[in-house]
């Protein structure tokens, strides 16, 4: 039997010990009327060879595309050591480190992870992960409402330059708690929120302001001014950031005069493969004074009976398994293995390696946009400073272009007409450190041809 080690003799001995006539009899407390006839719709079992053949055939039905899309998930080079280590059985098949003494590997790693994330974001503390970037924003909003005791409004300002999926997910998760997410528009020229556009909220009761940096368009927001404005209003500031960019961009903890209160985001750029959308991981950092409102697990350093350094889950009284209906969140299983990969990734890159990735992403996207802008009718839409994603205008149907590019084996970017109809025919493009000059040229040539043929 696959994965079941029992011999016939074992079964006999065990039943005899139990005093039961058969395995079936062990289910005799289930009311007969409810018993399942069978699992007729489930296919028969395959051996490993069969499943291997099946999945290899499935894999072949996936067509690899040359990727110029970002929009929240980025193709980066992942050092080979990252997943060789991450999939070691002792990391891969361990449970949540509830028995600290038997989980020092995972626990110390998480403590290191927390240190790295806190430093990247410029904040004091980090949790040990949430599900993904979008749900992390939802949790950040809930946390902000808990933290902001002065505000009664449960009103959150959410610029439309924040990733559209993040806004939706946040709405879906927080809306049952009477929280109001108020979308605020961006400057059509800069592709970013103008601090002065917030004047109309001046003096109102705002629980929190969300700022994404770089924002969904890849443009840089005036984070200092926005942060200071919000704090002046008594609002909590939530930063949504790409941790890779923090190798070079100002960390949220240093935005404005006193830094943001909460930073969250998607950890995927830190060594996690694209993998069709997940598993990735959400991260969340905050200032020390709000650590008791932070959702998710947290690891602390302590000592053992001999005074020797050791690590353990701590502040568990925030969590559902202790606090139940009064917990900071319902999250239990998180994305532990992904933070393992990210921690190893960050260790392998170090500050200079990560900086070089950020610089290369910036440079490649710059190159890409300059090259694409040579095509008649193609240009960057926004004038603001962008980082490693840019919204470009197209002279013909973006949907058609996107489709044709795919036929040519190119994922040409994110097509925004559904979420941002005001942009007309556009594509959000991205070239990370993995894109070569030849590939950028290839993209440009294909795009040019397609545009010609469509026009």
């Amino acid at each position: 039997m696959p994965f079941i080690p029992h011999t016939e003799d074992d079964v006999k001995e065990m039943l005899a010990a139990i005093g039961a006539p058969s395995i079936e009899s062990l289910f005799d407390e289930i009311p007969a009327a409810l018993r399942t006839g069978g699992l007729a719709t489930i296919p028969e079992g395959l051996n490993e060879l069969g499943v291997t053949q099946l999945m290899q055939a499935r894999a072949k039905k996936n067509k690899p595309l040359l990727c110029f899309a970002g929009a929240g998930a980025y193709e980066h080079h992942i050092p080979a050591a990252v997943w060789e280590l991450t999939t070691r059985g002792e990391f891969y098949t361990a449970y949540t480190p509830y028995q600290a003494e038997a989980s020092q590997g995972t626990l110390q790693l998480l403590y290191e992870y927390q240190t790295m994330m806190a430093s990247l974001t410029g904040l004091d503390v980090s949790n040990a992960s949430l599900y993904d970037g979008a749900s992390a924003l939802a949790e950040a909003i809930l946390m902000a409402v808990r933290c902001n005791r002065k505000s009664k409004s449960r009103r959150i300002l959410l610029p439309t330059t924040v990733h559209p999926a993040y806004r939706k997910v946040s709405r879906n998760i927080v809306s049952n708690q009477d929280i109001i997410l108020e979308e605020i528009p961006y400057c059509a020229e800069k592709g970013a929120v103008l601090a002065k556009s917030l004047d109309r909220y001046q003096g109102e009761d705002i629980a929190a302001l969300v700022i994404q940096q770089p924002n969904f368009f890849g443009s840089l927001e005036e984070v200092d001014a926005l942060t200071d404005w919000a704090h002046a209003q008594g609002a909590i500031v939530i930063a949504v950031v790409n941790p890779m960019t923090l190798a070079v961009l100002k960390p949220p903890g240093e935005w404005g005069t006193s830094g943001v209160d909460i930073a969250c985001g998607e950890g995927q750029p830190l060594g996690i493969p694209l993998a069709g959308g997940g598993p990735y991981f959400g991260f969340m950092c905050c200032k020390q004074k709000q650590v008791r409102q932070l959702p998710g697990r947290i690891v602390g350093r302590t000592v053992d009976l001999d005074g020797k350094e050791g690590f353990t889950l701590t502040l568990q009284a925030r969590e559902q398994h202790i606090r139940r209906s009064k917990a900071t969140s319902n999250i239990c299983t998180n994305q532990g293995l992904m933070t393992t990969a990210a921690t190893i990734y960050l260790s392998l890159l170090g500050p200079t390696g990560l900086r070089s990735v950020a610089q290369a992403c910036f440079a490649n996207t710059q190159k890409l946009v300059e090259r694409l802008a040579q095509i008649e009718g193609v240009e960057a839409i926004f004038s603001g400073t962008h980082f490693h994603e840019v919204m470009i205008q197209l002279p013909c149907s973006a949907e058609a272009v996107h489709e044709k590019l795919c036929e040519q084996g190119i994922l040409g970017g994110y097509e925004p007409s559904g979420e941002y109809p005001e942009l007309g025919d556009a594509l959000l493009v991205c070239a990370t450190e993995t894109r070569t000059d030849e590939e950028i040229e290839h993209f440009a040539v294909q795009l040019e041809t397609i545009i010609k043929n469509l026009n």
Partner: protein, 486 residues
């Protein structure tokens, strides 16, 4: 030693340095970081050595028997990992068009069908990223359902006292008041109390069956009727679905919504805390509310259903498609097992649990529900040992580590005093169960002969018993470099 303590300024790992010749001079200075982040500067070998050695400090399924009740620590077949990591799956950007991802979509579609089959539900969405998010999706759907019918006075959720903490926490996140229902001495939900509690304010009841006490609630049909009669719905917390695979389906028991912890029943690895995956299944009347995205098929082509296609959906719960890679692993596992294999999961998990329960009872341990069949897990109460000898469930748990066994779940469920919830799973051999039983016996005798020794266990692990109180009082959550002169 921490990785930071091995770091030296100026040490670069050249193999990971990208040469772009680029500078950031085009970026206004106000956007830029001044001091570099505190990341370690180590060589590849230092990193490899550090994390390899750290890994060796973990207990794991690959190295130890790990009978953590309700957590289902069973073997994670390696083919699932290997095949889910085929390059064509790993390199797929989540926004790739369906024309380029048919192999991936077909697998998810098949998994949806398999989950419908094992739960007896009418529709499944794979998107929730763990059990708790499945709960959130489920309760949000229940709320949407009541609201869609204008039935808006229902503001209460019933939760048995044996429930997992995520259940009440989820209720609150969905805006409900949570009301606890007591459990009877025989382990079943107190039906009288339930009947008293249920009413027009009842939105739903959240149930695990078998419950986390390790017994199957025999009155499930009556519970279902009581709640349904009052206009409430039944939510099935599928954390223990492995106990009944192919024996009885939540749909047949009357449940309206179910979540499935793929990282338990479908053996995707726990990864030191995650990722998991918590697909939800629903009965006919809740179909419109399923979270998106969902995979649909048209002739031989697969495509996504999104908000546009499902206007009443509670929407999306992740930026893309939940924990896609976990879904692939679960799908591969389900194909390896097949229909026969799934039934065997329930059968052998139950056989193992009943065997251990019997043997431990013989050895002098008290079963919390001695008159009941164990399901795939069972609870001991060490009340007697704690009171008479002074050896607590914690002491037993810590000492078990010295014997090379991970401890069972302790102090959960809360209603069993000094509880040990033991789930051996179907993948453990009788010889390992016997070894664990022997260890428990030895510890019991140690408790009488040398309590002090027991109370200071473990001795053979990388650290001795840790001071958790200090960890919470003197918070030390991030490492800080020692500044010269301090």
């Amino acid at each position: 030693m921490l990785i930071f303590e091995q770091s030296r300024t100026g040490r670069g790992n050249g193999a990971q340095k990208i040469k772009s010749g680029a500078t950031l001079s085009a970026l206004p200075k106000q956007f830029l970081r001044e001091a570099p982040p505190l990341l370690p500067e180590v060589s590849e070998m230092q990193a490899v050595r550090h994390y390899t050695r750290l890994s060796q400090k973990n207990f794991s399924i690959d190295t130890q028997f790990y009978p953590l009740g309700s957590c289902t620590m069973k073997h994670n077949p390696r083919a699932c990992n290997r095949l889910a990591m085929l390059p064509e799956f790993l390199s797929q950007h989540p926004l790739s068009p369906v024309s380029a991802t048919q192999g991936f979509l077909a697998s998810l579609y098949d998994l949806q069908e398999i989950l419908k089959g094992v739960t007896g539900m009418k529709g499944v969405s794979l998107t929730p990223m763990a059990g708790a998010q499945g709960e959130l999706a489920g309760i949000a759907m229940i709320r949407a359902y009541h609201e869609s019918r204008g039935d808006i006075e229902r503001n209460e959720l019933l939760v048995p006292d044996a429930a997992h903490g995520t259940n009440p926490a989820t209720g609150v996140m969905c805006g409900y008041k949570v009301r606890e229902i007591p459990t009877r001495a025989d382990g079943d939900v107190d039906l009288e109390a339930l009947r008293d509690a249920v009413g027009p304010q009842t939105a739903a009841i959240m149930l695990t069956n078998p419950s986390t006490l390790g017994v199957f609630d025999r009155k499930i049909a009556e519970i279902s009727q009581a709640v349904h009669d009052a206009g409430g719905l039944l939510y099935y917390d599928g954390a223990n679905l492995n106990a009944i695979l192919g024996k009885v389906r939540p749909g047949d028991m009357g449940f309206d919504v179910v979540h499935i912890n793929l990282h338990k029943t479908f053996s995707t690895p726990h990864g030191g805390g995650g990722p998991g995956s918590g697909p939800v299944g629903v009965s006919e009347r809740l179909l419109p509310f399923l979270p998106v995205p969902v995979v649909a098929r048209k002739e031989d082509q697969y495509h996504w259903l999104s908000e546009k296609d499902c206007p009443d959906s509670i929407g999306r719960l992740s930026a893309f498609m939940g924990n896609a890679g976990v879904l692939l692993r679960a799908y591969i596992y389900s194909r390896l097992l097949g229909r026969e294999g799934m039934v065997r999961v329930a059968e052998y998990a139950t056989l193992n649990a009943n065997y251990m329960a019997t043997k431990l009872a013989e050895a002098g341990f008290d079963l919390a529900y001695p008159k009941r069949r164990a399901t795939h897990e069972f609870s001991l109460t060490l009340k007697k040992q704690a009171k008479e000898i002074g050896a607590t469930a914690t002491d037993f748990a810590k000492r078990l580590l010295d014997y090379g066994y991970h401890a069972p779940t302790v102090y959960f469920p809360l209603l069993v005093a000094e509880c040990m919830l033991i789930e051996p799973t179907e993948t453990e051999a009788k010889s390992d169960l016997d070894g664990f039983i022997e260890a428990m016996k030895k510890i019991l005798s140690e408790a009488s002969s040398d309590l002090d020794k027991l109370r200071a266990a473990p001795y053979t692990l990388p650290v001795k018993r840790l001071d958790e109180v200090r960890a919470a009082r003197e918070l030390d959550l991030v490492w800080k470099p020692v500044v010269a002169g301090e």
